[in-house]
Amino acid sequence: MVAIDQTLRWKHLYNVLTRSGPFSDEDWVPGPETISTLESSKILVIGAGGLGCEILKNLALSGFKDIHVIDMDTIDISNLNRQFLFRQVDIGKPKAEVAAAFVERRVKGVKITPYVGKIQDKDEDYYMQFKIIVCGLDSIEARRWINSTLVGMADFENPESLKPLIDGGTEGFKGQARVILPTLSSCIECQLDMHAPRPAVPLCTIATIPRQPQHCIEWAHQIAWQEQRKDDAFDSDDLEHIGWIYNAALERGKQFHISGVTFQMTQGVVKNIIPAIASTNAVIAAATTSEALKIATSCNPYLENYMMYAGEEGVYTYTFEAEKKPDCPVCGNLARRMTVDPNMTLEAFIETLGERPEAQLKKPSMRTEEKTLYQRFPPQLEEQTRPNLKLKLGDLIADGQEIAVSDPAYTIDFRYRLDFS
């Protein structure tokens, strides 16, 4: 094989790394050192799906040579309309491995190290080796986990411990990209309410007074399955299971004269499917990798700190500086205020934490400075604190008191100040 002429191959990229532009920092020194800094920057990509495939390609063609990628998923047929590194024959194989191998094959000289598993499998030492972390995830829980982990790692004595987190997300024709400098700028948790979950349909509607086809599907999923097939673990990827839910929902619809239940809708409701297309992923993924290139090389100033994109009507972007919140449970030092009804039981309060946009904690345990209110683990402590569940908040804590909430999904405690309504 002919030896690759690096300067010729990377001509366009090297032009911006070896020449100043009108907006690059005055102190920046362009040249070979910038190029070698870029090539030695170890970068981590979280997620090898719609965004991840694009991000890996973009980083490889931006001169990054040492790329790592984490994803726990395997390839599904519904990925093929946008996850362009995967083919029909790859269905069932791990995304991280197939994506890494494809990009390595196509772009010579880049090393991509895949890890098939969860981000939670890795510890701080692992994350410490990277210069930048780029996230292309659809799960808010995983985002919150990596965010709080990176904030926890930031140590003022050691500038190397500060790992810029570049996060992207899409839904249909819309998306957003943002740059987070842990502890220095607004983090995922500061704007958690922007990721508010869709309001759940009340259980009584599902159980007794359905009106929409979606209510019939929820009934089949949440109630009928439990009643009739509780020994089968429900698997939303099993078409027989979805088919059963679909038919049960159709029957339910017929009984209540509700039309409109379809197989597609059944899948959408049960799996909470978010529409996704290649083009939106391309926009958001490239926005994140463009920031990665700028941060790694200083060839131009980077995004401070949030860009929203909406493509339904023309091309709309809104770029702004999201605010760092002093009461952010992760990067702030004040407890976040939450208004509660003192007549609410602890049990009911715990349930609301799952849905409140500013909390979204599904399995919380909690304590005040003096006592444990409710603790899920170990079993003895759970048993000991269980009676508190039936007590009213007003009898357990004082107005304005602070509580610390932990959740198995996160490594840190969340602090809330409960104000009585």
Partner: protein, 557 residues
């Protein structure tokens, strides 16, 4: 798509499974339109001197990637360039073995791998040669051109496309900047604009039709209902009920201004029972919340009125597009009833199943009746303007009626040029009044285009791309165009901003950065999808993206 019917064990086909995530955005009708469309990509048009093969064409290839994946019918890549070393540093759809081969052929081969359902072919010659064949251009539903290209070629291509009514997207991506413009036909109508469902509710509460008004009898015993019944009266009926009460004390008038609506809201609120265990009623909460947005008399939006008044709508011929025939039929409906056909959808609300369904049926029945009347109008217009190629399908008329309040017609303009139409120059001057505007980047590209044109026509050597003199001369030319009319003074700040933009463009000597081209390929594909599916609202007509400040702007140039 397979229609599901009760009791059937019908799962999705493998095609539906593959395209599931996008069918949720544009449905089977949008998918069919995509599958019937063939796209032409003109990805370069000859070298820029001896050293450079010209445009790398990364935006073009990335755009096609984003169109091949969702399954367009086919594509043709026109690109006379041969793959060189720098191509491998920016283009993902080339490999080491591609060096020295036709770039059209190689990118076509690797793009085809993405989706076996898509047909792809290529031509390794200049597009001017292909345009000689009158059969060539009409095969395509959309033309993409990767710039900068010399002006004569662009001008020939866009005029040819315009004559055939084919939309053109012209893109340029250099360094951290990109820009693209969309040339649409003079009238580009869209039925399914997909507005925010929140903004589209049309409940007609102030002027209920007889069947809706009659449904009030079902709650004539509102005061004596037990708590359970009372708490489950659909809020639509509650509002109708309290409107009747209000009219009794207001000379038969409905609340019409903010003050009256607030008072009306208090009246509704006062009807809620608070002595129940919940301490309130959800259906009343919903009614209270709906007062301000739902109690508005029907008004025809000015954009729809404009469509009704357009010549295409008022002067039908046998060759009028289906859109105009249906629009005209709906205009007749409006002239007769002073409202548009009822869309017929009802939001979810707290209610017993049977009560909700019967209310829903009242809306659906009325919508069907309105649609039937429009269909009748359409059939009459079809007969009047025959012969027509085919009868308009009932379901198309139905879709139109559902969306009647949100249809849109874009008045397409030519690809903008600084020395082109007067309106372009005017719009540019307007944008320049904002010092933050990215329009200076667009002007920077105009300078680049002229340098490329000079190189390709041997007026300048290829060194011009990195010559201060050439770029400065270009900026001076742009400044002269901007100030061509004595009144329009353009200040020194503007000049500085254009110079800065050209400095950034000059930094890569016309070369693309993969990230910026990939991002632009995403944006351009998005517009192409909207044009081909005729759903959502495409760009009108120019977008500039600034990868330094990570923001974009739209202009109508």
């Amino acid at each position: 798509m397979v229609e599901a019917f009760p009791g059937a064990l019908v799962g999705p086909s493998s095609k539906e499974r593959k395209y599931d995530r996008q069918l949720r955005l544009w449905a089977a009708s949008g998918q069919q339109a995509l599958e019937e469309a063939r796209v032409l990509l003109v990805n370069s048009d000859g070298p820029w001197g001896k050293q450079s093969t010209g445009v790398s064409g990364v935006v073009g290839v990335e755009t096609l990637k984003n169109l091949v994946l969702p399954g367009i019918g086919g594509f043709t890549i026109v690109d006379p360039a041969v793959v060189t070393e720098p191509d491998l540093g920016v283009n993902f759809f080339l490999e080491e073995d591609s060096l020295g081969k036709s770039r059209a052929q190689e990118t076509c081969r690797l793009l085809r791998e993405l989706n076996p359902d898509v047909d792809g072919n290529f031509e390794s010659k200049p597009v001017a040669e292909l345009l000689q064949d009158p059969e060539f251009l009409p095969q395509f539903k959309l033309v993409l051109v990767s710039g900068p290209v010399n002006r004569a070629m662009l001008s020939e291509l866009r005029s040819a496309a315009k004559a055939l009514g084919i939309p053109v997207l012209y893109t340029r991506s250099v360094g951290f900047y990109s820009t693209f413009s969309l040339q649409l036909p003079a009238a580009f109508p869209i039925v399914e604009t997909h507005p925010d469902p929140e903004s589209t509710q049309d409940l007609r509460l102030l002027n209920p039709w007889p069947e809706l008004a009659a449904s009030l009898t079902s709650i004539s015993n509102l005061e004596t209902m037990d708590d359970h019944q009372h708490g489950h009266v659909p809020y639509i009926l509650l509002l109708l009920h309290y409107l009747e009460k209000w009219k009794e004390t207001h000379d038969g008038n409905v609340p019409s201004n903010y003050k009256e609506k607030t008072a009306f809201r208090d009246l509704v609120r006062s009807g809620a029972r608070t002595d129940n265990p919940e301490g309130g009623e959800e259906n009343y909460d919903e009614a209270v919340a709906a007062v301000l947005k739902s109690l508005n008399p029907f008004t025809l939006r000015s954009s729809i009125r404009e469509i009704f008044e357009m010549d295409e709508c008022t002067k039908l011929t046998s060759t009028s597009a289906n859109f105009w025939l249906i629009a005209s039929a709906i205009r007749e409906f409006y002239n007769k009833h002073s409202v548009l056909p009822l869309p017929g959808s009802l939001p979810d609300m707290k209610a017993q199943s049977a009560d909700y369904i019967s209310l829903q049926n009242i809306y659906k029945t009325k919508a069907r009746k309105d649609t039937a009347e429009v269909i009748e109008n359409v059939r009459r217009l079809e007969a009047l303007h025959s012969p027509r190629p085919a009868k308009i399908a009932d379901k198309d008329i139905e879709t139109f009626c559902k969306n009647a309040a949100h249809i849109k017609v874009i008045h397409g303009r030519d690809l903008p040029q600084l020395d082109g139409e007067v309106h372009t120059l005017k719009a540019i001057r307007n944008a320049l009044s904002d010092p933050e505007s990215l329009i200076s980047v667009f002007l920077g590209y105009d300078v680049l285009d002229s340098i490329i044109t000079d190189i390709q026509t041997d007026k300048q050597s290829e060194d011009a791309l990195d010559s201060t003199l050439a770029w400065e001369a270009g900026v001076d030319r742009v400044m002269r165009s901007l100030t061509s009319e004595a009144s329009a003074a353009v200040d020194e700040g503007t000049r500085q901003r254009i110079i800065q933009a050209t400095q950034e463009l000059r930094r890569t000597q016309g070369g693309e950065l993969h990230n910026v081209s990939a991002l632009t390929g995403g944006l351009v594909a998005q517009e192409a999808l909207k044009v081909m599916t005729r759903q959502y609202v495409p760009l009108d007509n120019t977008c500039v993206f600034d990868g330094i400040r990570s923001r974009s702007e739209m202009y109508r140039l």
